[in-house]
């Protein structure tokens, strides 16, 4: 063989990804149509994912919107409680824990309101801001622990704490030896966890007496504020109760109230006070109308006109009907009755929406996915990936000749691997796009059915954009992950197969 001149053979270079991409791009129009099975599975998975996330986004924004509206509707009640009520020590714990929560809210308006409330308390308490903040943090921990003890079942509570309950338990646990035993017993229960870290718990218990003392100081100061304010406000009301007086206050009277409240240490804006007055007036008006509607001597008239005597709430809703006027003896004009009926309906609807939000979210604030939803999504992805991998394996088996021929023409294993992974990414992108769109439409239809126009009032466009991007990416992601094995199998195919004739 010495007379033969050796030919030069080097390792074949891999095709750069850009060129592989171009090759895939060239055929993708045809491939996408042929791989409809794979596409369908990806689309389904993404529809599921998208509709779940979009549904959550709807529930979260509508829920928060409705809650905020309701909070606005209760401005009057809040103000009246604030300026007149003397909460118990535990009541202060609860309200300060709520304040702690609101201070960390994602909603800027809610945070600002909480800051204003904080400033009000600081002013009344005679403490500096840092000391008061410490009290708020302590209240949040105390609330967590009290809730934790309250939610323990009887047997466990007995085993851990004996017959002691509530604050007594917290007081008992300030003793280090008792606490050590308690923590040991708790660790033995396995599934039961303290709502905070052990060190945090120990630090809280160590400072518990000081915390209680500080809270008592705040309570005293606050009670004094209320006591100081009472005669001033009563004087302004001039004999009537505060809410009576506010319900009839004209703008001039409102200004006087505002300065009086501020002098007592309760900060309130003019707009807020106007709202309070309006709500109190409305409550009075509604009560009067309701009373008029439910008078027993009117029953006969109701039956004559409407063939029945409807329940009171229905009567309120029917108030705008022209024939209800005569029943009320012309005390309200048609326009007045229509206005009252409309406001009543809006109030009822808000209540219904709140109920629905609470049902859907289990009373919790909706932020992100629940663990059950995550579980469902993971399972659906796994099922889909198996489906995609299977569909791709079939597609690859059908394309054995093409793959083997490419290898005969000089394609390396990794080129084939890259090519099929990229094809899968394209399929994932197409399925992701389709699924995102379909999922969005499905959820929009469902959302419109359950929330009506409220949905469009709080339409979470930005959140939906994020969610759509995410589910598009998820489509590509699951397709690529599912394609790993089939692509590898394709890359291992023998070039010899190209010769096979079927």
């Amino acid at each position: 063989m010495e007379h033969e001149n050796l030919i030069q053979i080097r390792p074949q270079k891999n095709l750069p990804p850009r060129l592989t991409f171009m090759l895939v791009l060239r055929g993708i129009r045809y491939r996408l149509l042929r791989s409809s099975m794979t596409l369908a599975v990806i689309t389904l998975a993404v529809v599921f994912f998208m509709s779940m996330l979009a549904g959550n986004a709807f529930l979260a924004t509508v829920g928060n919107g409705v809650r905020k509206e309701i909070a606005r509707e209760r401005t009057a009640a809040r103000l009246l409680t604030l300026v007149t009520a003397k909460p118990t020590s535990l009541g202060h714990t609860a309200s300060l824990a709520l304040l702690h929560h609101a201070l960390a809210s994602r909603d800027a308006a809610e945070r600002a309101q909480a800051q204003a409330e904080l400033a009000l308390y600081v002013g009344a308490s005679g403490m500096d801001a840092i000391e008061f903040r410490g009290l708020v943090d302590g209240a949040q921990r105390e609330k967590l622990l009290l809730d934790f003890f309250a939610e323990l079942d009887f047997a466990r509570r007995k085993a851990l704490l004996g017959r002691v309950e509530g604050r007594d338990a917290l007081l008992l646990l300030t003793d280090e030896a008792v606490r050590g035993k308690f923590l040991h017993a708790l660790a033995g229960m396995g599934t039961v966890r303290l709502p905070m870290h052990r060190d945090e718990f120990a630090a809280f218990e160590a400072g518990y007496a000081a915390y209680l003392e500080r809270q008592a100081r705040f309570m005293n100061a606050w009670n004094q504020t209320i006591d100081r304010a009472a005669p001033i406000l009563a004087g302004l009301a001039g004999g009537a109760s505060i809410d009576e007086a506010l319900s009839v206050a004209d703008p001039g009277a409102q200004a006087r109230w505002k300065s009086a409240l501020e002098a007592c240490g309760f900060a309130v804006s003019a707009a807020e006070l106007a709202r309070v007055c309006d709500q109190l007036a409305w409550a009075k008006e509604r009560e009067a109308v309701q009373r008029a509607l439910s008078q027993p001597d009117k029953r006969k008239k109701w039956r004559q006109i409407f063939f029945e005597d409807p329940p009171n709430l229905q009567k309120m809703a029917m108030l705008g009907h022209p024939r209800v006027g005569p029943i009320l003896g012309g005390r309200y004009s048609q326009a007045q009755r229509e206005r009252i009926a409309a406001r009543f309906r809006a109030e009822t609807r808000l209540g219904e929406l709140e109920k629905k939000v609470d049902e859907r979210s289990g009373g919790e604030r909706v932020e992100g996915l629940s663990s059950r939803q995550v579980f469902l999504i993971v399972i659906s992805f796994l099922v889909c990936m198996v489906g995609i991998a299977n569909a791709m394996l079939i597609a690859i088996t059908e394309r054995y000749k093409e793959i083997a021929t490419m290898k005969c023409l000089g394609a390396t294993d990794s080129f084939i691997l890259n090519m099929f992974t990229m094809e899968a990414a394209f399929q994932g992108a197409a399925g992701g796009l389709l699924g995102t769109l379909l999922g969005f439409l499905v959820e929009l239809a469902r959302g419109s059915l359950s929330w009506g126009s409220t949905l469009y009032r709080y339409f979470p466009a930005a959140d939906l954009g994020q969610v759509a991007l995410l589910s598009f990416a998820v489509g590509i992601g699951i397709a690529v992950v599912a394609a790993i094995y089939p692509s590898w199998a394709a890359s291992r195919m023998l070039p010899m197969e190209a010769m096979r004739v079927d």
Partner: protein
Amino acid sequence: MSETQTAPITPEAYASGREVLLRAIGVQKHYQRGSETIRALKGIDLEIIEGEYLCIMGPSGSGKSTFFNMIGGLDSPTNGRIFIKGVDMAQLNAEELAFLRCRRIGYIFQSYNLSPVMTALDNVTLPMVFAGASADEARTRGMKILRRVGLEERWHHRPKEMSGGQQQRVAIGRALANNPSILLCDEPTANLDFKTGREIHQLLFDLNKNGGVTVICATHDWDMLAVSDRMVWIADGCIEKIEITKNIKIEKASMGGEDSHA
């Protein structure tokens, strides 16, 4: 029979001073099917001269395809060695084999195996892309090759818009893409009618004689013999005979009879 198995290269070939392109020494191939060992090739020695036109014939199941695949670097022998221009193919790793298949060997298949989603030009330039040619260069060379196989006008057609003969021409063009030393044809005319088959024979003959490319053809088509230099007859895993085609042309009729019982 034993002397035909180690039949020497034609005296003319040596006289012309041409070199051995491919050498097979004692090639055996065994398959395991269940507990049974199938001896597909029982020891084949063959030398193929640069620039010759060789037909490999034999009944199906004779081991012809197995041997053919080994020459093309698609399969490796159980025992024995195959050298291509002095390089032992068994020593090559996957990437080197890919390099060899890309630049040294052109493959032509019975069912054309064109990519249905690519135009004629894209099909022809695909091996150039694998070899790292630039897009412009590939295009220029691809058009030249299409002119060579007579399909310059149809460069933008996809396989399903072309007849079988035209598809096979595109496939031949693709096989020629990187100027290979060997054209390996697996029953190139089996799916074509007589007349189109003859055109393909002519094209291969032309490429062999005027282009200097070595053609190795596995075929059942006796008509192919008319254009080839030598014929290797494989039966039952051995080379049964090697003939200079010039000498057997007159026996064509009787060989046709033999074909029917094979």
